[in-house]
Amino acid sequence: MLRYIGRRLLHLISILIGITFLSFGMMRLAGGDPVTYLYENAGAAVSQEVVDRTKAEYGLDDPFLVQYGRWAAGMLNGDMGTSYVSHRDVYDTFVSKLPATLALTAVSVLLTAALAVPLGILAAVRQGKLPDLLVRLFSFVGTSLPGFALAVLLIYVFCIRLQLLPTIATADLGRSIVLPALTLAIPMTAKYARQIRAAVLEELGKDYVAAARARGIPGRAIVGRSVLRASLLSIVTLLALSIGSLLGGTTIVETIFMWDGVGKMAVDAIDMRDYPIIQAYVAWMAVIYVAVNLVSDILCWYLDPQAREGGGPS
C-alpha cells in the first residue's frame, strides 16, 4: 500500500512541475508585456524609463526560469503576484472565491450520485420495460445538450415560465444553488445512469446472482447487498473522472448564474487580459483535478480486494 502511494506521489511531483511550468509559460508566450498591460488597463501612457523601473520592481527582468521558480514557490507560500486590473493579491482573490466553486461542485456531485445510482439500477432491474426506456431517453437527451444551452433552458422553464427560482445568485444561497447545480448534474446523471445500468446488468448476469436466486434470496436483497457493492468501484471511478469536466463546466455555469466563484473570476479575467489571475486559476484547477484523481485511484485500490491482494495496480 505504502509503496503504491509512494510511486504515485513521485509521478505526481513530475506532473505538478509540468502543470505549473505550462500554466506559467503559456501566459508568457502569449506575447505582450505585462507592464504595458498594467499601464494600459490603468489608462496611462508612460515612458520607457517608467516601464523599465516597474519591470525591475516586479522582478520581470529576471531570467524566465527564475521568474517561474518564484511564481511556483508562490503557489505554496501564497504569493502569486498582483492582479493587473484590481491590483489585489491574486492568491487572496483566488482563495476567497474558491469555497463557492467547491460548494457548487460538491453539491453537483452529490446530486449526480443521488440521481444516477437509483436511475441506473432501476433501468437495469426493469430492463426493456417502461422505466428503462424513460431512463435511456433521459440519458440521450441529457448528453446531447451543451451545459450552457441546458442552463438557458432551465432558466426559461423554472425562472420565466414557472417563476419558481431566482435567475442569478441572490442572498438566499439554498435557492440560488439549485439551478447551477442542476445544470452541472443533469449531463453527468445522464451519462452515468447509462453506465451504471450497464455495470449492474453485467453484474446481474454473473453466476453468483443466479446461485443466489436459486437459493431463494429475494431480488431486492441480491441487488442491495452484492450487486451494488460490486458496482461501487465503477461508480467511484466515474464520479472522480467527472470532476474534470465539472471544474471546466463551472466556468460557464458560474458566468451564467452570476455565481461568485473562481470560474466566473477566470472568465472575467480573460476578458480583461488579467494574466496573473488566469495563470493561478489554470494551475490550481489542474492541481485540484490531479489530486482528486489520485484520491479516487487510492480509494478504488482500497475498495478492490483483488488489486489489494495482488500488490496494487501498476
Binding site: F140, A149, V152, A198, V282
Partner: protein, 278 residues
Amino acid sequence: MSLIRRRRDRAHARLILFSILLALLLAAALFARSLCPLDPNVQDLSIVRQAPSAAHWLGTDRFGRDVFSRVLAGSTVSIYAALALTAVTAVTGTAIGLLCGWLGGWLDTVLMRLSDLFLAFPTLVFALAVAGVLGGGIHNAVIALAAISWPKFARLARSLTIAQREAPYLMAARLAGCSPAGLLLRHVLPNILGQILVAAVLDLSTMMMELAGLSFLGLGVKPPMAEWGSMIDDGRSLLQTAPWMVLAPVGAVFLTVTVFSLFGDALRDVMDPRRQTS
C-alpha cells in the same frame, strides 16, 4: 451466429438512415447562405423581437434579423468548425501515437509524458485560457481545443500500433522487403484506421459542444457573424421577451449533436457488432 447477423443487419439499416440524415445536415450547412430565405445579417429596426410568424419562421432578434436565416447561416461555422477541429485533433494525435507505438524508446517516453501532462488539465479550463491568451476568434478556439484534445487519439493510436507490431502479417511484409515507412503507412495504418475513425466520429458531438461553449463565452466567432453558441449568449438577456432567439439555436445544437452521436453509435455497431449499445 444468427443473433449477431440480425444485429448487424439492424445496425446497417441504422447506419444508412443516419448517414442520410448526416449528409442532409452537412449539405444544409454547406449551402446555408443560398438556402437562407432572408439575409441573416440585414438589420431592420422596425421589426425587432417579433414572434415567429409566416414571414419570419423563427421570429426576429434584437436587431430585426431573421432568426431562422441566422440559425441556418450559423450552421456553417458551428458544424464545419467542429469537423475541422475533430480532423485536426485526430490526425495529429494518430500521427504521434503511430510514431510512439512503432519506434518506442525515448521519443515514446517523452511524448507520452507530455500527453500525461495535457491529460492533467480539465479540458475547458485549459482551452479557455489558451483561447483567451490567443485573443479569441474561431481559429484560436479550434487551436486551443486541439492542443488539449490530441492525447486521447495519441494514446488510442499508440496502443493499437503496439498491438499490431508483432502481428505475423507485418513480419511477412518485412520479409518481403517492405520499407519501415511503407510498413507503417501501408500496413499498420490501414489496420488501425477503422477504430480511430469510430473514435473520431464518437468524439464529434463533444467537440462541437466544447466549441460552442467557447463561442458562448465570447471566445469563438466575432459578431455579427452567426454562430449557435454566440446566438444563445446574445439572446439570453432577452429570454423573457423573445425566447425564440435562444430556443431556436438551442434546438439546432440539440438536433445536430443528436444526429452526430446516433451516426457514431451506428458506425461503431457496424464496425464491431459484438460491442452493441443495448
